[in-house]
């Protein structure tokens, strides 16, 4: 893809999410879509983190844990220390990244299904910890979290006070979408850098990578902590939009969903998780009208999709455009993925 085409794509995407979508919502009067789309944007940030762990060859079903931790860190800082939400956001992310280094050191030695199961258990551990600790207020959770306040630098208002805005929904939407775009820009940059190539070497064969001199322990931890950072900021923003957090805000189902988003979009594509989140969350939302058959239809579609496109939605485009290289790689990859 040429640079021009790339820029055009980015420009079109920006126009779509920042101008066209608000305009359409304005015209159609479906204001509830703002909340849905804001959630999609935030959840896709967390999914981006999961995708990065997939990229080093680990199945991460523990993103819900970091989203919950990030949410609690931000909620506690806002309600008890009176900090500005926008300052707690990076702090929540950093806290999660630090935590993930501590947790990741032992568990990143695990592989395949073992890692997947341990991360799944991790989600449950965090939920139970939130229930047991006094500072998180147990099952009652933290409610009435104030809306994000003004962020100013040298008297210049960078982000206005959400409480005074005429349309906080739109503001939340824009903030979430911008955060999503920044996260995916970072992800794209990581994947297309030296770091990304090294991560790919881990995905294919860790022993081989180590034998060539790649510091696999360091890389694994780095990728995992970036992933958790994404989870933390997504959780923190989500909590501040819903203005409340409970131990059940992010649980095992959410962790599984983050992973499903990545699968659905396709593991080989940076923007896969974004598409996957949009489809899964929006699909679930649209099926709400079917009442009690919602879960049945949703899961049937999921199974069908898996039968038709086992390699994710974005593989559709690839298989049509680049048939020869796409056929060559599947033969090689399974043997590399399972030593």
């Amino acid at each position: 893809m040429t640079l021009f085409k790339k820029l055009l794509g980015v420009g079109l995407f920006l126009a779509l999410v920042l101008v066209l979508v608000p305009w359409l919502i304005e015209r159609s009067g479906r204001w509830d879509f703002y909340y849905t789309l804001t959630s999609v944007a935030l959840l896709s940030i967390a999914s981006a983190g999961v995708w990065l762990t997939f990229y080093i060859g680990r199945i991460n079903i523990g993103q819900g844990a970091y989203a919950l931790v990030g949410g609690y860190v931000s909620a506690i800082l806002v309600t008890q220390a009176g900090m500005n939400f926008w300052l707690t956001l990076p702090l929540a992310g950093l806290f999660c990244a630090l935590l993930s280094v501590l947790i990741g050191l032992p568990i990143l030695r695990l592989r395949g299904v073992y890692f997947a199961m341990v991360t799944l258990v991790l989600t449950e551990v965090v939920r139970l910890t939130a229930l047991a600790l006094p500072i998180t207020n147990g099952a009652r959770g933290i409610v009435n979290i104030p809306l994000p306040t003004e962020l100013s630098l040298f008297g210049l208002t960078l982000i206005p006070d959400f409480g005074t805005l005429a349309n906080p929904k739109l503001a939340f939407y824009l903030a979430a979408v911008i955060m999503m775009i920044l996260s995916y820009a970072v992800l794209y940059r990581i994947v297309h850098s030296r770091l990304g190539h090294l991560c790919r070497s881990l995905q294919q064969n860790e022993e081989l990578a180590a034998s060539i001199g790649v510091n696999i322990t360091y890389l694994r931890i780095l990728a995992y902590s970036i992933s958790s950072f994404f989870g933390g900021i997504a959780g923190a923003s989500f909590v501040n939009i819903s203005q409340s957090i409970y131990p059940s805000s992010f649980q095992v189902v959410d962790s599984v969903n983050f992973m499903l988003n990545c699968f659905l979009g396709g593991l080989g594509y940076v923007f896969g998780p974004m598409l996957g989140t949009l489809l899964l969350y929006f699909g679930w939302d649209l099926l709400f009208t079917t009442g009690k058959y919602q879960l049945l239809i949703y899961s049937s579609l999921l199974i069908l999709l898996m039968l038709v496109l086992p390699n994710g939605l974005l593989s559709l485009r690839l298989s049509r455009k680049a048939k020869q290289p796409a056929q060559a790689s599947p033969d090689k990859q399974p043997s590399g993925a399972t030593p």
């Binding site: 997939f54 199945i59 947790i103 032992p106 568990i107 030695r109 695990l110 592989r111 395949g112 299904v113 073992y114 997947a116 199961m117 341990v118 799944l120 258990v121 991790l122 449950e124 551990v125 139970l128 910890t129 229930l131 047991a132 095992v252 189902v253 599984v256 992973m259 499903l260 699968f263 659905l264 593991l267 080989g268 009690k292 058959y293 879960l295 049945l296 949703y298 899961s299 049937s300 999921l302 199974i303 898996m306 039968l307 086992p310 390699n311 994710g312 593989s315 790689s329 599947p330 990859q333 399974p334 993925a337 399972t338 030593p339």
Partner: protein
């Protein structure tokens, strides 16, 4: 103390039955069956229907849920997992499928049986009381023994039957088994059916004691994952050990830590993570099996 051990053994026998099914499916197919807890719940509801609605004997109920679940397992393997495994680039893709099936079963259970907690009448009346040191209702003892019998039957079947030998060969090395003339597709399907059947039987046993409800599927899957992590994924002896260890820990934890509130599972989880840091493959697993 005796009471704690007795409770732990009773829990462990049931847990081992669940973990066996999960580990069997994992060792044969390399599929982490997210839907295992849902299969277990479905088995419970089928037994409930047979026993409480139709008024048939309890053992028949267990038999029916085992058979139906086995049929379902075979269908799931043949029509869902096999095509996806054959066509996906990364074998983790089966996880999405397994999660989809878990959601699907949840939806089916919700539509067929509703949200209510369901139970069946006691199968045996009376309470076993040994000098107030061990007090245990007879129906729990019967269920525990039935679970143990099922575990024993499974082990004997895997060890001495031709099918069992084929499945063990498959678990050891799929390619080698194929080269030796084992019909890989057939025994994969059979193994999946057997694993689902074990889940169904465990669910059927459970419904006589605690009843079943829709929400039990997910937590049961998580418990089963923990058991096979303790014992080592894909190893039969490991699954049994994991089941009994978890049952014992739960029993001890609920008694000893009762004063501190609901922290038993937190401590079990935390110690599991520490344990895995030292022994990633579990007690009996092969490294990176």
């Amino acid at each position: 103390m005796e009471q704690i051990i007795a409770n732990g053994l009773y829990l462990g026998a049931q847990y081992a039955l669940i973990a066996l099914g999960l580990t069997l499916i994992f060792s044969l197919m390399n599929v982490l069956n997210f839907a295992h807890g849902q299969m277990y719940v479905l088995g419970g509801f089928i037994t409930y229907t047979v026993v409480a609605q139709l008024g048939l004997p309890f053992l028949l109920g267990i038999l029916v849920s085992g058979l139906l679940l086995a049929l379902m397992g075979a269908g799931v393997e043949k029509y869902l997992f096999r095509p996806v495994v054959a066509r996906s680039v990364r074998e983790e893709s089966t996880m999405l499928l397994a999660a989809g099936i878990a959601f699907f079963l949840d939806a089916v259970i919700l539509l067929l049986f509703g949200e209510k907690q369901r139970g069946i009448p006691k199968i045996v009346d009376g309470v076993f009381n040994w000098d107030f040191r061990i007090i245990m209702p007879y129906d729990r003892i019967v269920v525990g023994l039935l679970a143990l019998a099922a575990v024993a039957a499974f082990i004997l079947y895997m060890r001495y039957s031709r099918t069992g030998r084929a499945m063990r060969a498959l678990a050891q090395d799929r390619t080698a088994a194929q080269l030796m003339g084992v019909d890989v597709n057939r025994y994969s399907m059979f193994g999946f059916a057997l694993g689902a059947m074990l889940a169904g039987v465990a669910g059927g046993l459970l419904v006589s004691i605690t009843g079943v409800n829709l929400g039990m599927g997910g937590p049961t899957s998580i418990k089963a994952f923990m058991m096979i992590m303790i014992g080592g994924a894909g190893v039969i002896s490991g699954a049994i050990a994991g089941g009994f260890i978890l049952g014992m820990m739960e029993s001890v934890g609920l008694t000893v830590l009762a004063a501190y509130g609901d922290v038993t599972y937190l401590i079990i989880f935390a110690s599991l993570m520490v344990f895995l840091a030292f022994r990633p493959q579990g007690l009996m697993g092969k490294p990176w099996g």
